[in-house]
């Protein structure tokens, strides 16, 4: 089966989409990707980077 997640750049680009039903599917994929990305060790690392860069 195809992985529901999409690459981050694609997740980003479809967070908002022109008003169609089809792009709801892409938005769903984007949401799943975002949740995976911000969970666990990756999420912790991202927060550390932001803290180090911006205080």
């Amino acid at each position: 089966m195809r992985d529901l997640r999409v690459p981050l750049k694609d997740a980003a680009s479809v967070m908002q989409a022109y008003p169609t039903f089809s792009l709801g599917l892409k938005q769903l994929s984007a949401n799943v990707t975002m949740d995976k990305m911000t969970d666990g060790i990756i999420g912790w690392l991202i927060k550390r980077v932001i803290k180090l860069r911006l205080g």
């Binding site: 479809v14 967070m15 989409a17 008003p19 089809s22 911000t38 980077v49 932001i50």
Partner: protein, 418 residues
């Protein structure tokens, strides 16, 4: 909503709560940043929710249903539909308020870690903005203030009452006659929708064709369809004067004079600029705030996304916001590619496109091959009496360069390619 008079410090400040601003704020908070979202108006959602995509699509849905129910004799359906214009407008309002209550509201964003404030933001320096008596300090600032209707300079226009996309969805009665200045997507969508509902519509287009950013064949198909529906189209229109008369608004063009009950201005957009932006040194031009491909302005702490930077002006270009967040918070050198962003015009026939047009590829001297199927070769389209086509341009290796879909559900079909 926060009302503290104290100074507030954030890792990211987002100014403007339309499509770009909401995405930036939510994405920033999701990544764990401390985010403030500042919106000039009392409600979130911006142009798309309140004056653009949402109300226009709701109007078009009603208009198509009304039109089709009265034009289905060919498939054996004979009806005499009646229109309740107030109910149409209620449907539009209901659609907007459903979306507002569902996810475009303060509570939704505050639950996701975004501090929401309402008030007009004015820049003090490259990391500070004032909102009323509150001072906000941000390590990074994303401007997403959107755009407003551009009003052309026409003699007498300032003396008459006219509609824009900001006011047309508040009409109390269906105008008997409507003149639309502008033959771009907004003018064509709204003009056709009102014609479907029963208004006698005239569209004045200053250029030689409708939808000038689309393929010429598309413009021709739409022109013929609109004419068939009884819409009067004047191309290369040169408007000399506009004045108010007892019968309504009188528009004088080189070709003829038109009098109509209502006048809609749909001649493009102008960027909304926050106060103090130029004074602190951010470079702007006539199109908007200048940005590079990473959405950075001339000041390294400030980014600009969406309509205010004068780039592609679509709701879904809010993807720029995510590029700006990645650059501003994480320092990832992401860029936003505007070259293949899709768009759709929700006329009948519906039109959807992404990538370069044939004219653009020709001007770049780029070789391409054309793959095309007409709706007459698609059995489902034949059964539903739909006409149109799908055309895909590829390079010599077969990679898709661009695509155009014309016909029922074109936007949905295009989504499968993009």
């Amino acid at each position: 909503m926060k009302n503290s008079k104290h100074d507030k410090s954030y890792q990211l400040i987002v100014i403007g709560a339309g499509s770009g601003g909401l995405v930036a704020a939510e994405f920033g908070a999701k990544l764990g940043a401390k985010v403030a979202l500042i919106e000039a108006t009392p409600r979130l959602g911006g142009e798309c929710l309140w004056n653009g995509c949402v109300p226009s699509k709701a109007l078009i849905h009603s208009a198509r249903a009304f039109w089709q129910s009265g034009h289905s004799q060919q498939i054996g359906v004979l009806t005499e539909p009646k229109l309740d214009f107030n109910a149409v407008m209620e449907h539009i309002q209901d659609s907007m308020h459903f979306i507002e209550h569902h996810h475009d509201n303060d509570e939704y964003f505050e639950k996701r870690g975004v501090d929401v404030f309402h008030g007009k933001a004015a820049f003090i320096d490259d990391s500070t903005v004032r909102v009323g008596e509150d001072i906000f300090h941000g390590r990074r600032i994303i401007i997403a203030t959107g755009s407003s209707p551009a009003i052309p300079s026409i003699r007498g226009l300032e003396t008459v009452s006219y509609l824009t996309n900001e006011t047309i969805f508040s009409l109390k009665k269906l105008p008997k006659t409507l003149t639309v200045i502008g033959g771009g997507p907004i003018g064509c969508e709204l003009g056709q929708a009102f014609a479907m509902l029963g208004s006698k519509v005239t569209i004045l287009q200053s250029g030689s064709r409708l939808l000038p950013k689309d393929e010429p064949e598309v413009s021709e198909i739409l022109l013929n369809q609109l004419k068939e529906m009884g819409i009067q189209i004047i191309l290369n229109a040169e408007i000399s004067a506009i004045k108010s008369t007892k019968q309504g608004v009188e528009i004088s063009t080189k070709q003829r004079t038109i009098v109509s009950e209502e006048l809609l201005i749909a001649t493009g957009r102008r960027p909304n600029m926050p106060t103090g932006l130029r004074e602190i040194g951010v470079t702007t031009n006539d199109q908007g705030i200048e940005v590079d491909k990473r959405m950075r302005t001339s000041l390294k702490t400030i980014y600009a996304v969406g309509d205010c930077n004068g780039g592609v002006q679509f709701t879904h270009a809010a993807g720029q916001a995510v590029v700006a967040v990645q650059n501003s918070l994480l320092g990832i050198p992401k860029t936003f590619d505007q070259s293949s962003i899709p768009w759709a015009t929700f006329t009948t026939p519906e039109i959807a496109h992404f990538g370069a047009t044939k004219g653009k590829l020709d001007s770049l001297k780029q070789n391409y091959q054309t793959a095309r199927i007409n709706f007459s070769d698609i059995d489902k389209a034949v059964t539903e009496k739909e006409s149109g086509y799908i055309e895909i341009l590829t390079n010599t290796r077969g990679s898709i360069l661009s695509a155009t879909v014309v016909g029922a559900n074109a936007s949905e079909v295009l989504a499968k390619l993009y």
